[in-house]
């Protein structure tokens, strides 16, 4: 009986093999690096050194949380308007939304920098001297610009699946449009919001390119730190930071999923 049930799932075997070898094992190695020194001896020095990076971590958290919030505030109405338009228009809007994603993130970010830079397109065009690149605002703008579609798409998918009759039912039962929105539509699109938030927050908090370009080298985010450790060869500290960041992110995603979907969320990590 046992053997038979194993045979049923034999098709998953190559994947399980692959996942253990190339997902689990590399993460274990990260763990090993985090707890050893350059000579390979057990050491807590890397973990202890993390306290130096706490301010950087807070800054990353601050910028990415603001960017995520801005994405949500801008993205929800956008997703909602798209979901409410005609099927033909929906297709076109979604296409327009996805098209910039096909341009490499580096190019897009660079293009923003070229526009906003001190001697950039905007300042040349208007003959002004706004100082934008190098501020927190520019980095946040970059994050919002680059990751907005990740917020809009899942919310759109969720909202467009909500039954049209839900509006009628709600108003029939005496809900005003605003109340319907708050009490019916918003809760029903919660799973889209949650996945949108994760899809924006995770790349924002770990980015290093956006802060390099739009931060103008004036401040460092946690992603920059890891990248710098990688370039300078301080792999053990880099591994320790990665490990902590991964654990924090996986925990928060699990908590968010549990929060939104009850028991089902557990399976999706």
């Amino acid at each position: 009986m046992k053997k038979k049930s194993l045979m049923r799932s034999i098709a998953a075997a190559p994947h399980i093999f692959w996942a253990v070898l190339f997902i689990v094992l590399p993460l274990i190695i990260v763990g090993v690096y985090a707890f050893t020194d350059a000579e390979g001896n057990f050491s807590l020095a890397n973990i202890a050194a993390l306290t130096d990076y706490v301010p950087i971590f807070w800054l990353s958290l601050e910028l990415s949380v603001i960017a995520t919030a801005v994405c949500l505030v801008i993205g929800y109405p956008l997703a909602y308007i798209i979901a409410k338009s005609s099927p033909r228009a929906q297709k076109i809007f979604i296409m327009l939304l996805m098209l910039p994603m096909w341009t490499n993130l580096l190019i897009r970010t660079y293009s923003i920098m070229a526009i906003l830079d001190d001697g950039g397109f905007l300042n040349t065009l208007l003959n002004t001297s706004f100082h934008i690149v190098g501020t927190k605002g520019a980095v946040i703008f970059g994050m919002v610009y680059d990751f907005l579609p990740y917020m809009v798409l899942p919310i759109y998918t969720c909202v467009s699946k909500i039954d049209k009759h839900m509006w009628e039912a709600a108003s029939d039962l005496g809900c005003s449009p605003v109340k319907t929105m708050l009490k019916v539509i918003f809760p029903l699109s919660m799973s889209g919001i949650i996945s949108g938030v994760t899809m924006v927050l995770v790349p924002s908090i770990s980015t290093f390119y956006i802060s390099q370009k739009l931060g103008g080298g004036t401040f460092e985010l946690i992603g920059d730190t890891i990248e710098r450790q990688f370039v300078t060869g301080a792999l053990n500290v880099g591994a320790a930071i990665s490990l902590v960041m991964m654990v924090l992110i996986l925990i928060s995603i699990t908590v968010m999923n549990r929060f939104s979907e009850g028991d089902e969320g557990g399976i999706i990590v």
């Binding site: 998953a12 190339f22 308007i81 490499n104 991964m246 399976i267």
Partner: protein, 274 residues
């Protein structure tokens, strides 16, 4: 209300597209500047086509994207079928959780872990030159982060299809393997294809993981772009991006028109029966 939402859409989309249009504009700049437009020319396109570095990078990127899309689609589709058939909820949950790690994890962590892994592999097999395993490492890394997306796209289709068609095929004399290929696969094909397309684009677009794993002898476009943006970018990168955007735009339009036509046909067919 309608008016307001239109203005809102216009506003967002123009902000979204200003950098893209600027980029297209400056790709035709006669001067070597991305800030001042001095006049129209095709200079940067010509330069682009004369740059062997760019062409190698483009070829590498496409090769890697095609191979990792194929590999992840084959492994991922088989995995989805296997996961579907698993009885134990616990094992199912454990496997999907592990699979989803590269999707949930920040790319930078995945990239770091992959790099350390391949460093360990080099140590174990006494390989001194990373370039020897560089391509394999890139292929493995790309396939790994594409896998969850393929499974995520195929598994719901398999769940939706259920067992009835496979059982009918078995009943009519198919072996389990031929039942999968003759009946199940054709019916989950849309999911398989969209998974493959997603894998292809993810691989095409990936910078962070390639940055950590990439060897010096196998440069992809994003890596090339990165190394160029380290200095001041010349508009030939803009020219390349313009070509990519325009071709994607054309592809999207074609596929939209086609799917629109198919939908119309289906409607007509159904109408005829009634």
């Amino acid at each position: 209300m309608k008016y307001a939402s239109r203005i809102y859409l216009c506003l967002i989309f123009s902000v979204l597209y200003i950098p893209i249009f600027t980029l297209i504009l400056f790709s035709f700049n006669v001067e070597n500047s991305t800030a001042e437009f001095a006049g129209f020319s095709l200079r940067w396109y010509i330069e682009l086509f004369n740059s062997p570095e760019t062409f190698t990078a483009l070829r590498n990127t496409l090769l890697l994207a095609v191979l990792s899309a194929l590999l992840s689609t084959v492994i991922g589709t088989a995995a989805a079928e296997g996961i579907y058939k698993m009885r134990s909820r616990f094992i199912k949950g454990a496997i999907t959780s592990v699979t989803n790690i590269p999707m949930m994890n920040p790319d930078i962590v995945t990239g770091m872990s992959m790099m350390l892994f391949f460093a360990a592999v080099m140590g174990i097999f006494k390989i001194s030159d990373y370039n020897e395993i560089g391509f394999a490492a890139m292929l493995i890394a790309h396939t790994t982060f594409c896998l969850p997306y393929v499974i995520l796209s195929v598994l719901p289709r398999i769940n939706e299809l259920g067992d009835s068609l496979s059982e009918a095929a078995l009943d009519l004399g198919c072996t389990p393997v031929s039942a999968f290929f003759r009946v199940k696969l054709p019916n989950i094909m849309p999911g398989v294809i969209s998974g493959m397309v997603m894998a292809f684009t993810l691989s095409l677009d990936d910078f962070v993981i390639s940055y950590f794993v990439g060897p010096t002898n196998f440069q992809t476009l994003p890596l090339l772009i990165y190394s160029m943006t380290k200095k001041k970018v010349t508009p030939d990168m803009y020219a390349l991006s313009t070509i990519i955007i325009v071709s994607v735009f054309i592809l999207l339009i074609i596929s939209n028109i086609r799917s629109g036509k198919r939908a119309d046909e289906n409607k007509r067919k159904r109408g005829a029966v009634k």
